[in-house]
């Protein structure tokens, strides 16, 4: 393997580039597997003869597959994901508009799941083989088994009907906020508008919870197992031998070692979040990428679907790569 950090980073980046290339190939192949004339599929209801000719020229649909691929990849590399004739904008613009909303939701949900899952997992480990542990472990499995379809509906009912809170959209459209970051929670604070912030906050909680609960269940279990395993290791005994204060033993020695393996599968968390995100955004009318995909599916807008898959995959690969490289810095055994 690689001998030092720089070499490893380089190697990992090359790997990422190859993966991205592979994804582009796969997405391209899929789009050309469409039965019938791809141009018609792209245009949908707007398939007039002039448009068909235009699209055919744009994407070189009358040329060989290889040439088509070259056109395709050269446009991608320039950031051009094509135009959605069905929705009337360029795909790139549609995605760019919706992406911040999804990122805000997913990040919020992820942080929420960390706050819920990890402390409970630690508690479960400390009290392992007791009633508390059993209850928590059962809750974890149940939480993890909750399909976002059901959980979303339940939370929609609970927050929307029982509590009477607004549950669609990111914020009441009557507020006018200057957009600084594209993340409404931040923007409302930056605008100094507390009411708007509270409104946005109450709207993000239900969808975020829906996403967070299954992930929290997973994290609970992972944390519990990892902490238990680390607790049995000899160096914990050494720490106790040194008569260090209990919280030092817990945080510096046990947790640091226990949480490390959990970071390595951050990619898995991302995949779980993405899967749930589309459903959640649809249920809560959250104007993000997931909802865009849902709209694209119902409109048979293949350009948007294709572009979205590409963008999400690239983000996925980047996240994995970043996590892998970060992990290298954190674990001295790999560094050395």
């Amino acid at each position: 393997m690689a001998r030092n950090i720089a070499q490893y980073i380089f190697y990992r980046l090359i790997q990422a580039v190859f993966s991205i290339f592979g994804v582009i190939v796969v997405v391209f192949l899929l789009s050309r597997v469409l039965p019938g004339n791809p141009a018609i599929a792209i245009l949908g209801p707007k398939a007039t003869p002039e448009n068909i000719e235009k699209v055919t020229r744009e994407w070189g649909l009358d040329k060989s597959y290889f040439e088509q691929f070259l056109i395709y990849i050269s446009r991608i590399l320039q950031g051009d994901l094509g135009d959605s004739y069905v929705m009337g904008y360029s795909v790139g613009r549609l995605i760019a508009e919706r992406l911040p909303a999804s990122i805000e939701l997913v990040v919020f949900a992820f942080v929420l799941s960390l706050i819920i899952g990890i402390p409970l997992g630690i508690l479960s480990a400390r009290k392992h083989d007791t009633k508390t542990d059993l209850i928590l472990s059962t809750l974890a499995v149940m939480g993890f088994s909750f399909p976002s379809l059901l959980l979303g509906i339940l939370l929609l009912i609970f927050f929307g009907i029982n509590l009477g809170l607004p549950v669609s959209g990111r914020i009441d459209p009557r507020y006018s906020i200057n957009v600084y970051t594209g993340f409404i929670l931040l923007d409302t604070l930056l605008n100094g508008n507390i009411n708007a912030f509270l409104d946005a906050f109450s709207r993000i909680i239900p969808p975020a919870l829906t996403l967070a609960i299954p992930l929290a269940g997973l994290l609970l279990r992972l944390t519990r197992n990892s902490v238990l395993e680390v607790m049995m290791q000899d160096f914990v005994r050494t720490a106790k031998m040194k008569k260090l204060p209990e919280n030092i033993v817990m945080y510096k020695h046990i947790l640091r070692n226990a949480l490390l393996p959990i970071i390595t599968i951050a990619g898995l968390y991302f995949a779980v979040l993405v899967t749930g995100d589309i459903v959640v955004e649809t249920i809560f009318a959250w104007p993000g990428l997931g909802r865009l995909i849902w709209e694209a599916v119902s409109l048979r807008d293949y350009m948007v679907i294709q572009g979205s898959v590409l963008v999400v995959s690239i983000i996925y690969i980047v996240v994995n790569t970043v996590v892998d490289i970060l992990y290298m810095y954190i674990d001295p055994r790999i560094r050395g």
Binding site: Q233, F235, R237, T238, K242, K243, I248, N257, R333, G336
Partner: protein, 308 residues
Amino acid sequence: MKPLEIRNLTIHYAVRGKWVEVVSGVDLDIDEKGEILAVVGESGCGKTTLGLAIAGLLPPNAKISSGSIKIFGKDVRSNFAKVAMIFQDALASLNPLLTIGEQIAEVYVHHFSMSKKEALEEAKKRLVEVGLPASYIDKYPHELSGGQRQRVLIAIAIAMNPELIIADEPTTALDVTTQAKVLKLLRSIVKSRGIPMVYITHDLALVAHIADKVAVMYAGQVVEYRDKYSLYKEPLHPYTQALLNSLPRVDLDLEELKVLKGEPPTPGSFPRGCRFNPRCSKAFSKCFIEEPPVKIFNNGFVRCHLYE
């Protein structure tokens, strides 16, 4: 007050829902500071459990059912005594994510209220004391060799400024040359600082180089307790004699090596009478019926019917 006074110590382990006796009625002393007591025995004789008990590190599924351990008059269970322990597997005993400097400095930060900077300076001094370069402060455990890691454990132990050190087979996993170096280091540190030490091992040959007094353990009991010279010159208990006879000697052929046959009994299924009777060449009728009494000499004691 004696550095170490163990009286009638009995320890039980919970195995599959039942309590099993692992250490039975042990009496041991260390009389002076800087004295090294070796506890020798085969695997499973209870010596490690004894060591953990003295250090106050018994796992939750073990209990001291009777007896007492006093360090300079303080009961171990009161947690006022400062006992440091050096473990066998140095790699597993060190936190892989912290530098060795940090792991030594921890002791100073939390016990002597030093700042991190001061603590690291002290840690450097300890490293030099155990024969490692001060620059190793920033190294991680996996970057060191086995012998070097063992030295780090020793450094941690002395950093604690302990009243008593327990070393549990610290050199077993090392090659012979490194073994000798670490042993020498340990002995010189303990002697120069006047810290009493309990040295646990299965290697009777090793004991000769390091111990002042020797306690031989078998099946949870101390069967012989003498000063070193008396033990080697005139072993009293048949088990001790068998152990000494089985040490390879340059002047004897391998065929003449008298290997001790059989296995030690598992806790929970001790034989009736003397626990050594299945393997004892000198056993007679009484040994199978009654537990042997302890016969005290002026330089120790032995637990055997032969000396009643």
